[in-house]
């Protein structure tokens, strides 16, 4: 049955999407601008016989997620930039112990306490590891409320497939805004894969299971790292992206999340001024859709990367393009959101 369209807030969509995606347990700590996520889940999770607990801190939250994930359940937390920084140690342990989980970051301005306005300045932290050691998270970047609803389930599936933490990287605007969206009033039945590795009590199993990231022997740890790296290589095949107006584009604008929407409007404005601009939107920020970007940009004369940061994803774009075409950058920081007209001006500049 087609769900009725209604106005849904981005954070509400994340919460309902988590329930629909089969989240068994949520642990979190309040922080603006993601508070609707725990607020809604505090009633939705018990209503579906699942676990909700407000932790004493982000540090405790991520470690509760670690415990629940080690026990084989679909566990998640949600926070915003400063809180995510506090979770980085736990993320590293979860990645090291090869456990699946979901972490939502509704980004706000930094560094430090920064602001509560929207930002994309946590890109490096999200896609380059973030905590200590050689590890990566699967990172998904939604651009509207419908994707905020759909991505928790996709993220859980990918996390389970690779036994790896996954992150949804949104921002204050996406979290706070409402849009029409079709969301079923009752979640569909989610299917959980078997987790024979779970530390959930032996119950007749012939061996014990241990969730652990401690590998004291250097050679063994090297082998463990090689195994992780091979897994990250394997993930590359699952990169996701979207393009708009890109087929005949002379300039490709690369942007994700809320910025991609502004960039798309800017592309349309630029086309009214006779500049063939098109959008390339990475949906998985890790694995970064390098090959699709190369193919999309093959016939373009130049690229422009737009971010709500001082220039983070632009490094991955430049690594991908590797000097074949000029890659310009336009970034705003601290919660300032550029208008489509402002981005259009940068497109005009970059196209010259």
């Amino acid at each position: 049955m087609q769900a009725k369209r209604r106005l849904v807030k981005g954070n509400e969509a994340i919460a309902l999407g988590a329930v629909a995606g089969g989240c068994d347990a949520f642990f979190g700590y309040p922080i603006t601008p993601q508070n609707e996520v725990p607020e809604i889940l505090s009633s939705e999770m018990p209503r579906h016989g699942r676990v909700f607990l407000q932790a004493e801190s982000e540090v405790a939250s991520i470690n509760m997620v670690y415990g629940a994930a080690a026990a084989g359940l679909r566990a998640m937390t949600s926070s915003s930039s400063p809180g995510i920084s506090l979770m980085m140690e736990g993320m590293s342990y979860i990645a090291g112990a090869e456990l699946p989980c979901l972490v939502v970051n509704v980004m706000r301005g930094g560094p430090g306490l920064g602001s509560i306005a929207a930002s994309q300045a946590d890109y490096f932290q999200a896609v380059k590891g973030g905590g200590h050691g050689d590890y990566r998270c699967i990172v998904l970047a939604p651009w509207n409320v419908e994707e905020m609803y759909a991505f928790p389930g996709i993220a859980f599936d990918m996390a389970d497939r690779y036994r790896n933490p996954a992150m949804i990287l949104a921002d204050g605007v996406l979290g706070q805004m409402m849009e029409p969206a079709c969301i079923p009033s009752e979640p569909p039945a989610a299917s959980h894969p078997e987790k024979p590795w779970a530390a959930n009590g032996r119950n007749g199993r012939s061996h014990k299971n241990v969730a652990n990231s401690l590998v004291i022997d250097p050679h063994e740890l090297r082998d463990h790292n090689r195994k992780l790296q091979a897994k990250y290589q394997q993930m590359q095949a699952e990169c996701k992206w979207d393009t708009r107006l890109a087929d005949d584009a002379e300039i490709i604008v690369v942007a994700y999340g809320i910025t991609a929407r502004i960039a798309f409007s800017a592309c349309k404005l630029a086309r009214k001024r006779g500049i063939k601009a098109g959008l390339f939107r990475p949906i998985t920020l890790y694995p970064f859709p390098a090959k699709p970007l190369l193919e999309t940009a093959a016939n373009a004369k130049s690229l422009l990367v737009v971010e709500l940061s001082s220039g983070q994803m632009v490094e991955d774009v430049r690594l991908t393009i590797n000097g074949k075409q000029p890659v310009a950058f336009y970034g705003e920081m601290g919660g300032v959101i550029p208008s489509p007209a402002e981005v259009c001006e940068r497109i005009v500049e970059a196209a010259q």
């Binding site: 068994d24 347990a25 642990f27 676990v51 607990l53 932790a55 004493e56 801190s57 540090v59 405790a60 939250s61 470690n63 509760m64 997620v65 670690y66 415990g67 629940a68 994930a69 080690a70 026990a71 359940l73 566990a75 140690e89 736990g90 342990y93 112990a97 590795w197 530390a199 959930n200 009590g201 032996r202 119950n203 007749g204 012939s206 061996h207 014990k208 299971n209 241990v210 969730a211 652990n212 990231s213 401690l214």
Partner: protein, 262 residues
């Protein structure tokens, strides 16, 4: 992951009675602990609890960062290795999702009372239905003998080389006394592991702490005052005497809270 090697168990040659054996919950891995350390004793008591209450098939243990970081190698049940201080949060995650499992943490004083104090207090305050086996030896053993929040006044450590100065670093934290004010706590007891008699008392306290969880009473913690002869710079014998003469004066033994209806 390790495969269980079936041991002969209680099979004994004809005419002989088995009077002592290793708990089935423990593996054959030799302990890495220093001479005179009581982690081995405490581990064995944990193993005895799992056997006695027949919990092997439904136990999830959480080990700490510290001297007991390899605890998962010494037991035969499922375990999760927590980051430093976070064992109560990890145990909370497991227990909330699998409430019918027996979930315990095994933590030292640096882990539980220094870096992990917030997790300790909040798990206790929530009345989290988990059992905490706490080893207090008043020092950071694994990292090389640095001062702990539980170090005694005047105690020489590698970071308080002239002896712990209360003007500089305050007084020792008394975990049982601190947690006593929290309504969520079902069981709190402290005992020195300094004699066979005290070890038997410890077993009794641990039994109570396990029962608290099995009966759904809430947070239970047993604090074992333990010797660390190597980092204290003493012989094992002197370290035991030090516990009985000095440590128990600051950390008085006994049951602080017992909500079992006995």
């Amino acid at each position: 992951m390790s495969t269980i090697i079936e041991r002969p168990g209680t099979q004994t040659p004809e005419g002989l009675n088995c009077v002592f054996e290793k708990p089935r919950a423990m593996s054959d891995k030799p302990f890495h602990y220093c001479p005179g350390c009581s982690h081995g004793t405490y581990h064995r008591l944990v193993g005895e609890m799992i056997d006695e209450f027949d919990l092997m098939s439904r136990t999830v243990g959480v080990c700490p960062v510290g001297c007991a970081v390899f605890a998962y190698e010494y037991f035969e049940f499922d375990m999760v290795e927590a980051s430093h201080g976070r064992a109560p949060a990890v145990a909370t995650g497991v227990k909330r999702c699998l409430p019918d499992r027996f979930v315990f943490t095994y933590q030292g004083d640096g882990d539980l009372a220094s870096i992990g104090m917030a997790e300790t207090i909040h798990a206790a305050a929530r009345g989290e239905n988990i059992t905490v086996f706490f080893v207090n030896n008043g020092i950071f053993g694994m990292t090389g003998g640095q001062m702990a929040p539980t170090s005694l006044i005047g105690q020489k450590t590698t970071t308080s080389q002239a002896g712990r100065d209360p003007m500089l670093t305050g007084q020792p934290i008394k975990v049982c006394e601190l947690l006593s004010s929290l309504d969520g706590v079902a069981y709190l007891a402290r005992v020195p592991l300094s004699s066979p008699k005290n070890i038997k008392t410890c077993r009794k306290y641990m039994r109570n702490a396990v029962r608290c969880q099995l009966e759904g009473k809430g947070f239970a913690l047993v604090e074992a005052l333990s010797p660390c002869p190597v980092q204290w710079g003493m012989t094992p014998g002197d370290a035991i005497d030090y516990i009985d003469e000095k440590v128990v004066k600051v950390f008085p033994p006994g049951e602080f809270i017992n909500k079992l209806n006995d």
